[in-house]
Structure formats: C-alpha cells, structure tokens
C-alpha cells in the first residue's frame, strides 16, 4: 500500500511537471516565435491600425510571462479565449468538435483492439506455421498503409461503388444512427493500421510469455498450449499491449486530423488544421494544449493501469 502511494505521488509530480513544461512549449511556439502574433494573424495586407486594435483585444501589450499566466489561469477556469475567425468562445468550438472526435477515436480504438486481439492470439498460437506467416504478412501490409489513402479506397468501394455508407460529412448527433454511419468508414481507416501494429505487439508479447517457466509448469499440469495462452499468457502480455493502446488513443485523437480531412468531418483535428490555415492562433494554442493534456493524462492513466496489472512495476521508478 505504501509502495502504491509513493508510486502515485511520484507519477503525479511528473504529470504536473510535464503539463507545465508542455504549456510553456506551446505558448512559446504560438505566441513568441511568430514575433507579433497580431500581425501574423492578420496577414500581409493589414493596416497598422487594425494590427494595433487586435493587439489591444488580445492583450498583447502585456509582457509575455504575464500573458502566459493569464492564459493558464483562463484554461483552468475553462476559459480558452475567443476565436478570432469564428468570434465564439474557443471552449464551445472545442466542445462541439470533441463530440465528433472523441466518439471517432473511441470507435477506432475499439475496432483496433477487436481486430488485433484474435489475430495476435491466433498468430501466437500458430507460431512458426503457415497461419502465423499469413497473419503477420497481412499485419506488415496493414502497418504500411497510410490511413488517408486507405480512407480514399474505402470511400471508393463502400460509398461510391456499393453505396452502403456516406462518403463524408457529418449529420450531427440528433440522428444517432446516421451519425454512427458517418463515422464507420473513418474509424475503419484509422483502426486498420493501428490494429496491425497492436496484433504484432500482442503476438510478440505472448510468444515471450509462453517461453516462461511458469507456463511450462501450467503445461506440465496438463493444460493445452491454447488453454495456457488464454488463461495465463494473455494477462502477462497485457503490459506492452496497454502501452500501445494508450499511445494509440492519443495518436487516434490527434492523428485523425488527416482522416477527418478526407471525410470532411467537423472534428478537433480539422478545427486545428483550419485554424492554422486561417492563422487563428488563439484556437490553435488552446486546442493543441488540450490535445497535449489529453495525451499526458492518457499516458498517466496507462502507467496506473500497468501498476494494477503488474504489481512488480509499482516499485520500479
């Protein structure tokens, strides 16, 4: 118990430090590097007066450290500033977009795990045989697929030729069935390459576990190889699988930018991308920071999940 508390305290400290450093990096990249953010946002044709006016509204007259503290304090209160191009609070914009991105990432993650689990188990159970070679060959191919290209092919086959699913756009959650249908192709495009990675990791972890002495003991007691794999191997193989799943969730949330573009989905990634092309730095800054916070939190939770799955890790730093 004491070990668990010390572990938690240490992890929390690292979590806080990461958040502080990350916010400093984002703030510097967006507000300090471009020189004058107001001039950057307005582009080349802006008159000095409009630049000065925007500087006033953005509070750019203040020194950078003060602006940083303002920004952080605002975010802690849930105030992310007002978007320059949309003229609406960034928090509302982000909340709207998360209603698309979060279900998409969750759906893709579930799909990826649902595909990878049987394939990884199958390949590990048939290690070195034809079935293993075929499964891992397919996984190699899956890893090499750029998700946006896969997305285009899926649209071509399932939306244009077969007309089973919509080619893009999002109808909103007022019609949940239609909304879900709009997310299926993007989720598959995101999930397939991730599933291929996960299946390989799971297979490797299972094979490593199956070489352990305690598995030999289980086998000596009369359990079949597949039985031992399912009853004992899987739990022990979960640590590397959890790491990858944690990394994949953040990747899916952020990596959806490109796939959201293929399907014209109004998600968080597309918001960031549009904000960047429109030079709406306020949206960029807060949305990127939110993503980074999400990634750091997921990493933190993954670490905690390890400690629950594998008590040995509670002691190691």
């Amino acid at each position: 118990m004491r070990a668990m508390i010390a572990f938690l305290a240490r992890r929390l400290l690292v979590l806080m430090l990461s958040l502080v450093v990350a916010s400093l990096v984002v703030f510097t990249a967006v507000e300090v590097v471009p020189g004058n953010p107001a001039a950057f946002m307005l582009g080349m044709n802006a008159t000095p007066e409009t630049v000065a006016a925007l500087q006033q509204t953005l509070g750019l007259g203040q020194p950078a450290p003060l602006r940083y503290l303002d920004w952080v304090a605002g975010m802690l209160r849930g105030d992310f500033g007002i978007s320059y191009t949309y003229r609406t609070p960034v928090a509302d914009l982000v909340a709207d977009r998360l209603a698309v991105s979060l279900p998409l990432a969750a759906l893709a993650l579930a799909l990826s795990a649902a595909l990878a689990l049987p394939v990884g188990l199958f390949a590990a159970a048939r290690q070195g045989r034809a079935g293993d070679a075929v499964a891992m060959g397919a996984a190699q191919f899956g890893i090499a697929l750029p998700n946006f290209w896969l997305a285009m092919l899926l649209v071509l086959v399932f939306a244009v030729n077969l007309r089973w699913l919509p080619a893009g756009g999002f109808p909103g959650w007022s019609d949940p069935a239609a909304a879900l249908r709009a997310l299926i192709l993007p989720a598959v495009a995101l999930a397939l390459p991730q599933a291929a990675i996960l299946a390989r990791v799971l297979r490797a972890a299972l094979i490593e576990t199956m070489a352990e002495d305690y598995i030999r003991t289980v086998r000596a007691k009369g359990r079949s190889r597949t039985g031992a794999l399912l009853a004992h191997g899987l739990r022990n193989a979960l640590v590397p699988v959890l790491t990858i799943l944690g990394m994949q969730f953040s990747f899916l949330l952020a990596g959806a930018i490109i796939v959201e573009n293929v399907f014209y989905l109004p998600g968080l990634g597309r918001l960031i991308f549009q904000a960047i092309t429109q030079r709406d730095l306020i949206v960029v800054e807060s949305a990127v920071m939110l993503l980074v916070v999400a990634v750091i939190l997921v990493t933190f939770l993954t670490d905690l999940a390890y400690a629950l799955v594998d008590p040995r890790l509670r002691r190691a730093g």
Binding site: L17, A22, P34, F148, L153, G255, I257, I272, V295
Partner: protein, 270 residues
C-alpha cells in the same frame, strides 16, 4: 521466412531508392509538363502508369516524388541519430544520475506531444516547406533514438572489457564512442530503418495536407490529395501514389525485421 523478409525488403526499398536515384539522370517524361489533351489517361505504352488530371506523366511524377520522400525521411533519421544517440549514450554513461533523469524526462515530454499536431504547428508557424517537414519529423526521431541507445548501452557498460578500459584510465565519453557505440550499432541500424519508413509515411501525410514540399515539386502525398476528387473518374491516379508509399514502407519494415533477426544474436533462436 526470415530470409524472404530480408530479400523482399531489400528488393522493395532498393527499387524505391533506385527510382529516386535514376530520376536525377533520366525520367520517362518531364513531370512538370502539363498536357490537358492527355489528361487522366489510363496506363499505356506512352505513359506507363497513365496521366493525372493535368496530363502529367504519373510514372515520372512518382520517380521525382521518391526523391522528396526519401530525402525528407533520410535527413529526419539523420537528425534523430545525430542528436538522439549521443544523448542516449551520455544518459547510459551516467545511469541513475541527474543527467540521465534529465535526458529521459525530456524524452517523455517530447513523446507526450501528438507528433502530427506539432509537425503541423511547426510548418504553420514557419511556413510549409520540405525543410520544415524534415525538422518536424526529425524532432520526434530524437527521443526514439535516445531511448533505444540508452536501453541498449546500459548492459554494455557492465561488460568486463569496458571495466578494463575504465581501469586503464579512459574517460566515459571516449569509451562510449569507441566501445559502446559499435556494440549497439546493429540495434540502431534496425531502428533507423523503422524510423525511415515512419518518416516516409509522415512526409506523405504532411504533403497530403499541403504542409510538405510545395508545388510544383512532385510529392507522393500531394499527388494523393490532388487525386482525391478524381478518384471516381480515374482510380489509377489515386492508386499509383498510394501503392508507391505502401510498397516503400512495406519494404523498409521488412528490411528492418530481416536485419533485426540477422544482426541480433539473441533473437536468432526466437
């Protein structure tokens, strides 16, 4: 199986490299010449892989695009190796001390950033170009190589001949460069192949959203972006660049797997 993976990997990545190198000397057509009369032609004797919506020769564009993809990914790997490996070696030489902690926590921090978002941020602040794409991809290679180098180097430091070198009065940095580095080189080569393939994918993604090499330089990602609206009219315009990416990345991954089995004696029996 293992031999097949190595041979296939060498063949596929070799073909991509050859296409890029040959493109400096010879191209089947000028990839920049527009010919509206020849647009969206299917593959033929005159245009091996057909033409795009502006009548440009797709084979020539793919070959010229291979140059960009390979150059961006290669330099990005170079950045990762050049900065990450020394950091990892220093961390391993000072394992458990504050310098080690600093390097590793710095690594964790870079890993915490969604790489694609930061890549887009960098290209957005500094403007889209192949150079900024290289920087954006390269930065994320640094922690990968630092981690691999440190992890691989840690057990090497406990070997007898390294201790002998310490006793002989050699400094830690010199030992790291002269004795530890050669020991971990095979692992670094394998990792470099993997990062190379990830770099090709990342470059394709960035240029797909318009943040990579700028027009008129042909690039695989932008070819796909331009093909997107034409995919129903002429699927080959979208198929060819995608296949080029898949085959190159597949080749590099197979090569990495094959090399790992060949170079790492511990895995030979596995």
């Amino acid at each position: 199986m293992r031999r097949l993976s190595l041979a296939l990997g060498l063949a596929l990545s070799g073909a991509a490299l050859a296409a890029a190198l040959v493109s400096f000397l010879w191209l089947p057509a000028d990839p920049l010449v527009l010919s509206v009369a020849d647009r969206l032609q299917p593959p033929s004797a005159a245009h091996w892989l057909g033409t795009d919506h502006l009548g440009r020769d797709i084979a020539a564009m793919l070959m010229a695009g291979a140059r960009v993809s390979i150059a961006v990914a290669l330099v990005a790997v170079g950045i990762g190796l050049g900065i990450g490996v020394p950091l990892g070696l220093i961390a391993s030489a000072r394992a458990g001390q504050w310098l080690d902690d600093l390097v590793m926590r710095g690594n964790d921090l870079i890993f915490a950033f969604p790489s694609l978002v930061i890549a887009i941020l960098i290209t957005a602040v500094f403007g889209p170009s192949a150079t900024n794409a290289i920087l954006a991809i390269g930065i994320f290679n640094i922690p990968v190589f630092a981690r691999v180098a440190r992890g691989a180097a840690l057990p090497v430091w406990t070997l007898d001949y390294i201790r002998a070198a310490r006793l002989a009065g050699k400094g830690r940095l010199r030992i790291a460069a002269e004795h530890v580095l050669p020991n971990i080189a095979p692992l670094l080569i394998v990792q470099a192949t993997i990062q190379f393939s990830l770099g090709i994918l990342a470059e394709a993604g960035l240029s797909y959203v318009g943040l990579g090499a700028q027009p008129p330089t042909p690039s695989w990602g932008r070819m796909l972006a331009e093909a997107q609206t034409m995919v129903t009219l002429a699927p080959h315009v979208a198929l060819m660049p995608g296949l080029a990416i898949v085959l190159t990345v597949l080749g590099l991954n197979l090569l990495g797997d094959g090399l790992r089995d060949r170079l790492d004696p511990r895995r030979v029996r596995a």
